[in-house]
């Protein structure tokens, strides 16, 4: 399944929006205008861009603390997203979740967890719900290479395989588990090799190659939607700005990081779209301006938005506040 022009431009728009959002975020952080914990997804734009044109709003997504790119890819409203990152009352989660815990059921972004690997067992529950309800909704759960070393990964993939759940296990292999290199903490070269242990397809793809990523994701989505069961998909990628904003990145060799940044997937995608004649310069410039305007709007909205009142502290713990 090769992406058509509409899909390619949709992917480019998502990738651009992610890149620009991240750049704006880091700019505001660096200038001291905003303060928050931030796990930059810069460099990992292509994987969620593929899903952004393959999933429906009623498909489910689960992601992790490095999730801004997945939030945008699934279609979370930028105003609510920015307001949540800034801890504002009009954020998606009333300022109670923050960047690590964005939830937006309207767009199908159901859970963002700060616990490595724990989204996988929950994703099975969304898959089970779709199966029991007889719908063809699929669930994508994103996680890093490090998450494949935690017990929840094993329990979840086994159960998904046994029950043939419509779940896509999307490993965004950025080659570092916090500060630890893949080879130093993981027994296999490719995370997808682990699929063999569960008798399900395991596919490794260049997660920064838009065409390869689209095709692999499309195959996994089609398989899940048609009731054939789960796929473990591994997209090889790289994160440009460390585990958390402010870490010294000494564990990442400078030349390795430079090479990855030289191969920045978003401008590379742009060059490819022009070279292949998919779009003209004016088309791409228009997309970029549209993203920029949307981010301007979201940032202005979020900066001006009200902070929550301490009176709201004890709301939302239970359906009804306990005495």
């Amino acid at each position: 399944m090769t992406p058509d022009r509409v899909a390619l431009l949709g992917m480019f728009e998502t990738a651009t929006k992610i890149k620009q959002c991240d750049e704006r975020f880091r700019l505001l952080l660096a200038s001291g205008q905003i303060v928050c914990t931030y796990y930059s997804p810069r460099g990992q734009e292509i994987i969620p861009s593929a899903f952004s044109v393959l999933l429906r709003p009623d498909d489910y997504m689960v992601t992790t603390y490095r999730g801004l790119h997945d939030h945008i890819g699934k279609g979370v409203d930028l105003r609510g997203l920015w307001a949540e990152f800034l801890g504002k009352r009009s954020g998606t989660c009333k300022g109670k979740g923050g960047p690590m815990h964005v939830t937006d059921p309207t767009s199908g972004l159901m859970v963002t967890t700060g616990i490595v690997g724990s989204g996988l067992p929950i994703a099975n529950g969304f898959g089970l719900a779709a199966k029991l309800a007889g719908t063809d909704q699929v669930t994508v759960v994103n996680f890093g290479d490090g998450a494949s070393n935690i017990g929840a990964f094993h329990e979840a993939l086994n159960l998904a395989a046994v029950w043939k759940l419509p779940v896509i296990f999307m490993c965004q292999n950025n080659r570092y588990a916090e500060h630890t290199k893949l080879a130093d903490g993981t027994s296999v070269e490719r995370i997808a090799m682990r699929a063999a242990a569960y008798g399900i397809p395991g596919v490794t793809v260049d997660g920064n190659d838009p065409i390869a990523m689209y095709e692999a994701a499309a195959t996994a989505v089609r398989r899940a939607r048609s009731g054939e069961g789960p796929t473990l998909l591994e997209g090889i990628t790289y994160r440009f700005f460390g585990h958390i904003m402010g870490d010294d990145m000494k564990y990442q060799p400078a030349e390795e990081r430079q090479a990855a940044m030289d191969a920045d997937p978003v401008p590379a995608f742009r060059v490819w779209l022009l070279a292949e004649g998919v779009a003209e310069e004016v088309d791409l410039a228009e997309i970029e301006q549209r993203c920029d305007a949307a981010i301007d709007d979201a940032v202005a909205y979020a900066l001006a938005a009200e902070l929550p009142s301490p009176d709201e502290l004890e709301d939302d713990v239970y359906a009804e506040n306990l005495a």
């Binding site: 989660c93 109670k96 979740g97 724990s118 067992p121 029991l132 929840a152 979840a156 239970y318 359906a319």
Partner: protein, 335 residues
């Protein structure tokens, strides 16, 4: 057949009352599903037969035996609950919830809050629990205090078959995650259970015995020990009021304080180890509210602060029993 001649109650052991509650909930609401190890009839209908017959009646889509994977069980229940189902997840032994604690405490408990109430996790986690069967240290724990410490969870422990049916029904249809603790020593003791729909709301303690000299606050099967101890105390002229909390979160503190304000003396009894047990919380609450009217400090009686031992004399020495309750109550009254 005239309704007047129909029995209002039927004698059932607690495990059968639990089965009835699930069966009736599944019949009433197609969103109710059951997940757990060996819960379907092809695997025996549960290790204690609590789910026996349910997969035959409601199908193996809705009553699903799982692998031995507690994180996967609770995680799947959470996801399905957010997507609109009302899953009942069975954790075979309370001790095993340790394996799933990340799902229980970091996810089930927190997802409503972290999402600003956009998502809810209406799951019920059923756990068989407690000592007295010589199962040793890893199949006998009472861990309710762990869970009461986590905002977002509700914790429910029935003392008799009728309450087991009514409280479990409340948990299944509650909008929040509930942990329902079933003491195995109570499973096979019969009691009258209302026929048909029976709901006991969470957060309503029951006065099981009225008295004037001290208040004994308890929950679970120890309520019955407290009642037997009260009969012995009555022979010495000590009239104990016995409260059955039924749920620890939400807690019916008003009922507790009303009783202790009257008796001015309180003893908390539970099976869990005493140190940092729920009795510590109750003792603090009672003291904070009624310090000036108390005749003495609130006393606590729980298990000894050791892992649950295997050998019978050790296990008996570990558990608080009727004799210990009588002694503790006398000390409270005689001070």
């Amino acid at each position: 057949m005239s309704t007047a001649t129909e029995p209002q109650t039927v004698m059932l052991p607690m495990v059968a009352a639990i089965n009835r509650a699930i069966d009736e909930a599944m019949t009433k609401d197609p969103r109710v599903i059951v997940l757990g190890e060996d819960v379907a009839d092809s695997e025996g209908g549960g290790v204690y037969k609590a789910t026996m017959g349910l997969s035959t009646t409601h199908g193996t889509d809705r009553v699903r035996s799982t692998p031995i994977s507690e994180q996967a069980i609770v995680g799947a229940a959470i996801g399905a609950a957010i997507a609109g189902f009302r899953p009942i997840a069975e954790i075979m032994m309370f001790d095993f919830i340790a394996v799933a604690m990340d799902q229980v405490c970091n996810h089930a408990a927190k997802l409503r809050y972290m999402s600003g109430s956009q998502t809810a996790v209406p799951i019920t986690i059923r756990c068989s629990a407690g000592a007295g069967m010589q199962f040793g240290a890893q199949h006998s724990d009472m861990l309710e205090a762990w869970l009461c410490h986590v905002p977002g969870l509700k914790v429910v422990i029935p003392s008799n078959p009728a309450d087991a049916k009514g409280l479990l029904t409340s948990c299944i249809f509650d909008e929040d995650p509930c942990v329902f603790v079933e003491q195995t020593m109570s499973y096979f003791l019969p009691g009258p259970v209302p026929v048909g729909e029976h709901v006991v709301p969470l957060g309503q303690a029951a006065v099981r015995r009225e008295g004037t000299d001290l208040t004994i606050v308890s929950y679970g099967r120890q309520v019955n020990d407290c009642l037997r101890a009260s009969d012995a105390l009555a022979q010495d002229g000590i009239e104990a009021e016995v409260l059955d909390l039924r749920s620890l979160v939400p807690l019916d503190l008003d009922r507790v304080l009303t009783s202790v304000a009257k008796t001015r003396r309180a003893l908390v009894v539970h099976e869990a180890v005493t140190r940092c047990g729920f009795g510590a919380e109750l003792s603090a609450q009672i003291t904070e509210h009624l310090f000036d009217s108390l005749a003495g400090p609130v006393a606590r009686l729980g298990a000894k602060n050791v892992p649950v031992p295997y050998s019978m004399p050790l296990e008996r020495a570990y558990l608080p029993g009727r004799a210990e309750i009588v002694d503790a109550a006398r000390r409270v009254v005689e001070r």
